[in-house]
Subunit: 320 residues, 2 copies
DNA sequence: CTGTCATTGTCAATGGTTTGTCCAATGCTA
DNA sequence: TAGCATTGGACAAACCATTGACAATGACAG
């Protein structure tokens, strides 16, 4: 939700059309034709006549891209002032969520995920990487994490268990998804006064991707994230949280070694942290023990969307 | 906002054009023509008129190289002040980012590693990240991998074993080093006709960082890299190598489960691949069995520099 | 249902600009 | 003298802008 830092910016830095295309997910042709037909943006020009887009231009184009992909026609929205665009895109996003996902959400990503699986099957690392980066640019990071990355990983896991993909395919795809997520996360603005969460997986849990998805979600939600990777004893996690003054701790658990030990460890973690520090547990394994954990003051989140909503509700408690 | 390196630094050490070209990845012609046309840098001159570049010049050139490879035109960016360049390159890395102004002074690598350890000890993820990214821009990826990343990881491992750092510190630092390396690797140009190497660790070996260092080294050496992550059976690795028509396979082994099984697996891998496909084994565990492996046509590399030299020597055999 | 029309993304052809590389001549160094 | 660096000029490839055309889609009247 952090928009422009200050509005004096947005006019100064100038980007050539290639960068603008990359950042908006639109083709160079579209950029030019929207300008020619609708004057959607009017970029500056360099000495040789090349288009040079400001940050504000790029934000506007990205909003237009979102509006059109939500079903609006470019001719209708191209002339709108940027505030109205922002509002409109915001509303579209809300209504998409209210439709409970199945219809609109899946429209674009389903083919996206098929393509992703195809690239993985072909061991085409470059193609998969490009596809995912394009998806981030097109859909934004929230949508990407919840509706592209997570389903793609699940799908590839399924194909693997079904024997239609070899472990190598899964490894390759995981490495690339991980890389794209971390790079997108790293590109988010960072507010040092925002609430702070420590994310890891507990001892014995080596599947890192759930934790990475959670870390990126939290960062996209505006939180400061300290990411510790996989397989750490809870005492370590607690120490980091205390040392850094974190407001919350997130733990991803997918295939625990033994359920009971995990439960005990989580309780131990709870005991080591002040009650003002929230604890979130996510991942496949959490469901069975949700009720027990809730009694102990540990929140179980069932999906990334759930996690995000919890963080949003939790943030005001920790406001600086 | 910027605590620039005082002008004494960056002005002292002077490098001839050959060194500058090597370190920036730009040709000597480009270095000269950027100076002639855009005054991108104005190096000092030796007694006979030879160009002598300062460290600051070289950092600037590296940033310009990154900016142009991100799609910007040299004419647009050549005149920008170095702070803006840093910011711009940073943004391009992920696609969107506001610099919030964490500034780090980088001097020489030995103190650089000390600073890295300090950041890890303080659990300062942002500081460590900024430090490493600046180090990449200043020193170039080869130097960074061999003289910053690898020593830093080793040093942090030592501190951990000595009990002066907790596992959490090591985890945090590893995650950040990994992120910086992969993002630097991703920024390298990709030549589809270059020789191709598959990199992984074998089954039971879950320490990924050696493999990541190797993958980045190979990519920096100009090879196409298919990276498969950790803990894969050799049959899988071989299948990927065959399916993608790879010219070589790299395997990182740090703490093998059992030495004998590892040896057998490596021989099995050798047997599954045509002899034209080179096999490289690296990591701490390789030394003991180097002689035996050499007889089987498996090369043991003892360091990243060694690996890089081997790849360089090997590349012509696989030229398109 | 069909033909028409407007909308919209893509593509091709052409011409100008930018940029990396190459070359020849010259001078300095070892 | 051989080897390397510098300078200025030349050139081809890559990139970008402009224009016009085309195909796909959907709305709509008949």
């Amino acid at each position: 939700m952090v928009a422009m830092t200050d509005d004096t910016r947005g006019g100064e830095p100038r980007h050539p059309i290639g960068v603008a295309a990359e950042r908006t997910g639109l083709s160079q042709d579209v950029l030019r034709v929207w300008e020619r037909r609708y004057e959607a943006v009017i970029p500056g020009r360099g000495v040789g006549g090349q288009r040079l887009y400001s940050d504000l231009d790029i934000e506007r184009l990205r909003l237009l891209a979102l509006a059109t992909s939500a079903g609006r026609s470019i001719g209708q929205v191209a002339g709108l002032p940027i505030d109205e665009l922002r509002e409109m895109v915001h509303e579209d996003e809300g209504s998409r969520r209210r439709n409970h996902g199945v219809l609109v959400d899946v429209a674009i990503p389903s083919t996206l995920i098929d393509e992703g699986v195809d690239f993985a099957r072909a061991l085409d690392a470059v193609g998969l990487d490009a596809l995912l980066r394009r998806a981030v640019a097109m859909t934004g990071i929230h949508f990407f994490l919840e509706s592209v990355a997570a389903p793609l990983l699940r799908r590839i896991g399924d194909e693997w268990h079904a024997g239609r993909l070899a472990p190598a395919h899964e490894h390759l795809a995981s490495a690339i998804v991980q890389r794209v997520i971390t790079s997108a996360m790293h590109a988010l603005p960072l507010d040092l006064r925002a609430p702070h969460i420590v994310i890891s997986t507990i001892s014995g849990e080596r599947h890192e991707l759930g934790a990475i998805l959670a870390a990126a979600s939290a960062a996209a939600e505006g939180w400061r994230v300290t990411y510790l990777g996989a397989d750490l004893p809870v005492a370590e996690i607690a120490n980091v949280a205390l040392a850094t003054g974190a407001n919350a701790v997130g733990v991803s658990i997918i295939y625990p070694d033994e359920g009971s030990a995990m439960l005990a460890e989580l309780r131990q973690l709870r005991g080591m942290l002040p009650s003002a520090v929230s604890i979130y547990v996510g991942g496949e394994a959490g469901g069975d023990i949700a009720a027990e954990l809730a009694n102990d003051g540990i929140a179980v989140v069932r999906s990334l969307a759930d996690f995000r909503a919890s963080l949003k509700a939790d943030a005001p408690r920790h406001a600086a």
